[in-house]
């Protein structure tokens, strides 16, 4: 295989964008998910409905928003509502198809940590930003997709703190907790794609990017990562995808 003329971050963003079907509603978390969601809308999913926790519903930015409260989101939205309303009327009832989240740490059951790393909660080694909207996005969207770079530090056996619940400690946890959404169906990284094993709900490797091996992925995973029988190679970014993505990135830097 020739050396690809795209970065692993670009492949990750393209792969995440592809996970969003046209016409669905997507609650977009802060960070990497926003780039991927906007790329999806600019390529194969022009009718993707983007919803941000800042209260903007149906935003149609023509450049990459710099934050979840970027003015372009309000200016191009179908509706702008208050922050309480976005959580109570729009997220909580389960009317959003996909929650699109990032993570600082994620474990084999798809639980996400963005709160503290090391030490304990009261005296942490590293204080992270905290919950934001993620716990309820993870609980209430019909399904969740996580976009995160894969490293030994971020892919851990058990998160230091459960900011947002994936499958908790495995089958039955979400039901017991009364979480209405199905939980995380994909983790999309800079190496490939992980999906939960239907029986154990442990995340296993189901897709790899061109040039990445199972061993590469295992070397950057803190749990004993299995590969699915139907492991496939993800198509590299198309010229159209790369052009759109780079257009966004360039406009963001202007």
């Amino acid at each position: 295989m020739p050396v690809p003329d795209y970065s692993s971050d670009e492949m990750m963003t393209v792969s995440a964008a592809r996970a969003l079907r046209d016409g669905i509603t997507c609650f977009v978390g802060i960070g990497l998910p926003s780039a991927a969601a906007n790329l999806a809308r600019a390529t194969h999913a022009p009718r993707l409905v983007l919803i941000y926790e800042s209260g903007t519903i149906g935003a149609k930015p023509d450049r990459l928003p710099l934050s979840i409260g970027d003015g372009i989101l309000a200016e191009t939205a179908d509706a702008v509502v208050s922050v309480p309303e976005i959580f109570n009327y729009w997220l909580q009832p389960g009317r959003i198809d996909v929650g699109f989240l990032g993570a600082a740490q994620i474990d084999k059951f798809g639980n996400i940590n963005t709160t503290v790393i090391g030490g304990d909660y009261a005296a942490p080694k590293t204080r992270l930003p905290g919950s934001g909207g993620a716990p309820e996005i993870a609980a209430s969207c019909r399904e969740v997709i996580v976009v995160v770079r894969q490293t030994l530090r971020s892919f851990v056996e058990r998160v230091d703190f459960v900011t947002s619940v994936g499958y908790g400690s495995g089958p039955g946890t979400r039901q017991r907790l009364g979480l209405t959404g199905a939980g995380p169906l994909k983790i999309i990284t800079d190496l490939g794609v992980l999906e939960p094993d239907p029986a154990t709900q442990e995340f296993v490797l189901t897709g790899l990017y061109p040039g990445v091996s199972v061993e590469d992925a295992r070397a950057r995973t803190g749990w004993d990562l299995a590969a699915a029988a139907e492991l496939h190679t993800v198509d590299p970014p198309s010229a159209a995808e790369l052009t759109a993505l780079r257009g966004f990135t360039a406009s963001a830097k202007e």
Binding site: E75, T115, L177, G178
Partner: protein, 276 residues
């Protein structure tokens, strides 16, 4: 009826040592000028409340104004950490910082309860999270009296003072803001007292799409503060200064650099909006 005063007067009149103060603004319309004036007037032992503590709370924490932080997401959006916040939590500098931590949905509903005159709000949230496991006093299970389902209750937020920034007020003190309006209405209605800084005081407020109006009789003080949310933005007035957010990172990482910033940019400056 709101009194129209200078920002220095508003802070002097409304914010006292030991107060619980909510400065709101969801990325947009963050009340930086008012926050800087609180530092300049050297308030102490504040409990600061805010869904998204960003640079302004990093600055207040580093300046030693804050005893406790009630929040749901504390970062430098698009850049990374709030280093003064981290230094306080991780190393108790310049003093220990007590945390009361929530999710956005929880914080938003706590303001709603406060604005509604209720002692609590109900939501689907926190179940299975570490915040629930920490056993915070402001989160409890509650049972639906009709279905028996167990949901989550959060206690109301009723700050002593709410401080927000808006695009405009009229000469009677009615306030108008538009764009992303966040949880500002709820914060003002939940608080005992309030300060609204505005880009300009105009004779009359023209109706605008998407605008939220706070009637004068719900606001304590209005202070004109053009540019009062920089480096955040005021839709229709100026854009976000993204370079400032990037430039803040190295200043906040270093205690000495931060002290120099405080001396130069805060204590070295007179209150810029007609202060006494």
């Amino acid at each position: 009826m709101a009194e129209i005063v200078s920002l220095a007067e508003a802070v002097a009149l409304a914010v006292r040592d030991g107060d619980t103060v909510a400065m709101e603004g969801f990325t947009h319309l963050i009340p930086f000028a008012a926050g800087h004036e609180v530092i300049r007037q050297r308030r102490r032992d504040l409990t600061l409340v805010r869904m998204t503590p960003d640079l302004i709370y990093d600055q207040l924490i580093g300046a030693g104004c804050v005893r406790k932080l009630v929040f749901s997401w504390g970062g430098n959006p698009g850049v990374g950490s709030l280093h003064r916040f981290r230094d306080a939590v991780e190393h108790s500098w310049p003093g220990p910082l007590e945390l009361e931590e929530h999710s956005h949905a929880g914080m938003a509903n706590r303001y709603v309860a406060g604005a509604s005159g209720l002692p609590f709000a109900v939501l689907r949230g926190y179940a299975g999270t570490g915040l629930m496991a920490e056993g915070m006093a402001s989160v409890r299970p509650i049972t639906c009296p009709f279905t028996g389902e167990i949901l989550t209750a959060v206690s109301a937020l009723n700050p002593d003072v709410a401080i927000v920034h808006a695009q405009r007020a009229d000469t009677s003190g009615n306030v108008q803001l538009w764009g992303i309006t966040g949880v500002q209405k709820e914060a003002v209605l939940a608080a005992e007292r309030s300060i609204v800084t505005v880009e300009e005081v105009v004779p009359h407020l023209d109706p605008r799409p998407g605008s939220v109006v706070l009637p004068s009789w719900t606001v304590s003080y209005v202070a004109e503060a053009a540019g009062g949310s920089r480096p955040s933005y005021a839709l229709g007035y100026y854009e976000r200064d993204n370079d400032y957010y990037v430039a803040w990172d190295p200043i906040a990482r270093d205690r000495d650099a931060f002290r120099r910033w405080l001396d130069t940019e805060i204590f070295g400056m007179a209150e810029t909006m007609g202060g006494r």
